[in-house]
């Protein structure tokens, strides 16, 4: 069986997983730059200094999106979302901005 990668499916799934992980604070892992250590899941380990979630969110979004991009046929997205593809990343960026509003308050 030949696998076909759907770039549209990848973009859609990545945006959705990324925003969901950000919204519900669910990175696959955390990185602690002070000690160079990792911990699985979103729970912060005390005593390891500041934790970084960005790598965990991106890895999670990329992995899930890559799997979905192979499973779901490309034409399914291409036919239904012609010329409105761009709305998904725009919505994701707007949600990001909304979630970061607390920094500017």
């Amino acid at each position: 069986m030949k696998l076909h990668f759907s770039p549209i499916g990848f973009m859609l799934a990545y945006c959705l997983v990324y925003i969901a992980a950000l919204l519900w604070d669910l990175p696959a892992f955390l990185y602690y730059p002070l000690d160079g250590q990792f911990s699985w899941g979103p729970a912060v380990v005390q005593g390891l200094g500041p934790a970084m979630a960005w790598y965990g969110i991106m890895a999670e979004a990329a992995l899930i999106a890559a799997i979905l991009a192979v499973i779901v046929p490309d034409r399914w997205f291409a036919d239904r979302m012609q010329n409105v593809l761009w709305t998904v990343p725009v919505a994701a960026m707007l949600i990001c901005t909304f979630l970061m509003r607390t920094f500017f308050g």
Binding site: P7, F10, Y18, M58, A61, N83, P89, G105
Partner: protein, 153 residues
């Protein structure tokens, strides 16, 4: 070492800024070149020629940014928080998330610039390219401003 990575990160960002801006403006103008004015020459380029350069530059610039990030987290963000510069932390958070979201646009960006999609996805191609250009400009300017407030040691 981190300073050297930061400088290369900045230089690649300049190249990326040039490439994506050139392609984006050219795509959005969509008007045949008639005169030899600067604007016509600037926008009258082979738009597809920029695609893989943008992908390689975006990927490499983001990778270098990811390498620098832990140093920023410890040596820049903590002082920002101590100085009550929440807005600066917020700007960086947006830079980080926009940059991360921009990565997922690259496969579809390449697909949209293939000749087979010339007619069917014209609006998607123009807007996705513009979104990438916005992300690159945002990340470049925010990185520059924050580095002026407090650079890496």
């Amino acid at each position: 070492m981190m300073i050297a990575v930061l400088i290369v990160h900045g230089l690649l960002a300049v190249a990326l800024l040039g490439a994506i801006t050139h392609q984006c403006l050219s795509a959005l103008r969509a008007k045949p070149v008639r005169t030899l004015s600067f604007v016509d020459r600037y926008t009258g380029v082979n738009q597809r020629a920029f695609t893989w350069a943008v992908v390689m530059l975006y990927g490499t610039t983001t990778l270098l940014g990811a390498i620098i990030y832990p140093s920023y987290r410890l040596n820049v963000r903590v002082p920002f928080e101590e100085m009550s510069l929440g807005w600066a932390v917020g700007l960086f958070e947006l830079k980080e998330h926009f940059g991360g979201l921009g990565l997922c646009l690259l496969p579809v960006y390449v697909w949209l610039w293939q000749p087979q999609q010339t007619q069917s996805h014209a609006r998607d191609r123009g807007v996705i390219t513009a979104i990438l250009a916005f992300i690159v400009w945002w990340d470049f300017l925010v990185g520059h401003v924050l580095n002026n407030i407090r650079g890496l040691p």
